[in-house]
């Protein structure tokens, strides 16, 4: 099956010479719910800007549903609905006009544009506000207006740049539910976020971006497993055999005195000691091996703070 989004070796240097993307590659499958996670300034918005033509790339390749943006950008654009990080509608225009006009820019005839606009304004709880100038909306409503606007041409791929920034908890929940619903109906979704919890709650796959580079690209479940796995190094008295089996745990003999054990979340380290004890192996001391992923997260969070 064709991927919803393929990015190969994408790079971007801004006019001032700053290199915001250093050759990133990404693959998002059709129907996926994908998170692009990273701290401030990582390059998330730059990546999204390139996909939807607001930023010109310096190198690399982008294809949306198999359509290369260098070959047929208009065709690629039809597949995409974009919810940007910053509000980018005319604050003096009425809510409904904004959505109807956007439909027009995609070539939807007036009748259909009106029907679609009404449908999404209702679904996003903006029906009562349809005749109001958009500047009168609250921040959360403005964000939902941008979601309605992005969906009006019924794109196959919806891209949201920090959709829940500045949205209260209740509204965030209902926005999550809405996104889950349209994903279940077949729309591929990519969202950027600063929070692993948000990715955890919504997404199946994830890429982590930092300083313009992809540092992780896997399923959320796999990432969480690796994130919460602890690796201990046990120093043992006496010579260790070539391999030591501990039921339920992954182990590695590093040298004749040291044994490495992986402990997943929910497992008990007592089990390890009990089994080693039965095998006649004495543990003299133990230390924690650094978890690369966890360290990275600590750095990302500190870096963002």
């Amino acid at each position: 099956m064709i991927s919803a989004l393929t990015i190969e070796n994408l790079s971007k240097s801004y006019g001032n010479g700053f290199q915001a993307l250093k050759g990133i590659s990404l693959e998002v499958k059709q129907g996926d719910f994908f998170a692009l996670l990273g701290p401030n300034g990582a390059g998330k918005s730059t990546t999204i800007g390139i996909i939807c033509s607001l930023v010109s790339k310096s190198g690399g390749r982008v294809a949306v549903h198999g359509v290369d943006i260098d070959e047929d950008f208009p065709a690629a654009k039809k597949f995409i609905g974009i919810v940007p990080q910053e509000f980018n509608f005319n604050q003096f225009e009425k809510v409904r006009d904004i959505v109807v006009n956007q439909a027009g820019y995609y070539g939807l005839p007036a009748q259909q544009a009106a029907e679609r606009a009404d449908k999404y304004l209702k679904e996003l709880g903006l029906w009562d506000k349809r005749e109001v100038a958009s500047r009168m909306l609250s921040g959360g409503m403005k964000r939902r207006l941008m979601i309605a606007r992005a969906l009006v041409h019924e794109p196959k791929l919806l891209i949201l740049d920090e959709p829940t920034a500045g949205v209260d908890i209740e509204m965030r929940r209902s926005m999550w539910d809405f996104l889950r619903k349209i994903n279940a109906e077949g729309t591929t979704i990519i969202l950027t976020t600063h929070y692993l919890e948000e990715a955890e709650a919504l997404c199946r796959n994830i890429a982590i971006i930092n300083h313009g580079q992809i540092v992780e690209h896997s399923s959320v479940r796999d990432l969480l497993r690796r994130l919460h796995r602890e690796v201990f190094i046990l120093d043992c008295a006496g010579m260790l055999p070539e391999s030591v089996a501990v039921d339920g745990f992954v182990t590695r003999v590093i040298d004749e005195h040291s044994l490495e054990v992986e402990v997943e979340k929910g497992q008990h380290i007592n089990d390890v000691f009990a089994q080693l004890d039965r095998a006649g192996i004495q543990v003299t001391s133990m230390r924690n091996r650094a978890n690369r992923l966890e360290e990275m997260f600590v750095n990302l969070v500190e870096g963002a703070a």
Binding site: V55, S56, K77, K78, F89, D97, Y105, G107
Partner: protein, 257 residues
């Protein structure tokens, strides 16, 4: 996009533009009606009656076509410059840039928006002028053609200004320091025959000279420059402005990062 989809996108932009300037009509339509009335009263009636004939017509008759043209030029220009710069400023231009609407459709939508305002104001000013003088149209085809071409040319110029502008100051500098002098020196108020040879030659570089004189020919049947030459020059300026606007859009200069 199919041609029909492109037409839908074009109509969407045009309708939005018309809605914009009619909603704020006190800022867009009313000022021209008022300033032009003042021009008619002061230059046409009060001072004009002392000037005597100009080019074989009363001064009032002579100046009315120029003033109508002036309204068309300023309104088509300022509509596009403020609307397009505004959409750049509030980023709503991104709504169009992310859509599959081709660049020439975007340009035509904004330009036709400016043209429509130019026409509307022209009609308003013409109606106002009827309170001061009688208008006989010498050649309706020339009048219509010149009005359309002129408003297109200056709508394009407004677009170029908007693309380059970084602030609201930038969109008033050009009208103040370039457009207004060109209008005043373009023969709205005087016949080119009054100018010394040198300044008459310099004036040949001013597109307003062709616009005003061709229009005056359409209304009064007199012109300081030859009509085909005037049409040729206006076409040349328009094609150049269109090509340059398309270049700006296609290169994404100042619109995309």
């Amino acid at each position: 996009m199919t041609p029909h989809e492109q037409f839908v996108a074009f109509m969407t932009i045009l309708r939005k533009e018309i809605k914009r300037y009619t909603r704020i009509w006190t800022q867009t339509l009313l000022p021209s009606a008022i300033t032009m009335s003042l021009y008619f009263v002061i230059f046409g009636s009060l001072i004009g009656s002392r000037i005597g004939d100009m080019g074989g017509f009363t001064y009032m008759q002579f100046v009315v076509p120029g003033l109508i043209m002036m309204a068309i030029v300023t309104n088509s220009y300022s509509n596009v410059v403020s609307s397009f710069f505004g959409s750049k400023f509030n980023h709503s231009v991104e709504e169009l840039l992310v859509s599959p609407t081709p660049n020439y459709v975007i340009l035509m939508g904004y330009v036709l928006g400016g043209v429509s305002r130019g026409l509307l104001v022209a009609i308003i000013v013409t109606i106002v002028s009827l309170f001061f003088t009688q208008l006989h149209i010498h050649n309706i085809f020339v009048v219509v053609a010149i009005v359309l071409m002129t408003s297109t040319l200056f709508a394009l110029a407004g677009f170029i200004n908007a693309v380059y502008a970084n602030s609201f100051d930038d969109i008033s500098i050009v009208p103040t320091f370039v457009l207004t002098p060109l209008i005043y020196l373009g023969g709205v108020f005087y016949s080119m025959n009054l100018l010394p040879a040198f300044w008459a030659a310099v004036s040949k570089l001013n597109p307003l000279v062709y616009v005003v004189n061709a229009f005056r020919y359409g209304v009064l049947g007199v012109s300081d420059v030859s009509l085909p030459f005037a049409f040729g020059m206006i076409t040349l300026f328009t094609v150049a402005a269109f090509a340059f606007s398309m270049h700006l859009l296609n290169s994404g200069k100042r619109l995309r990062q």
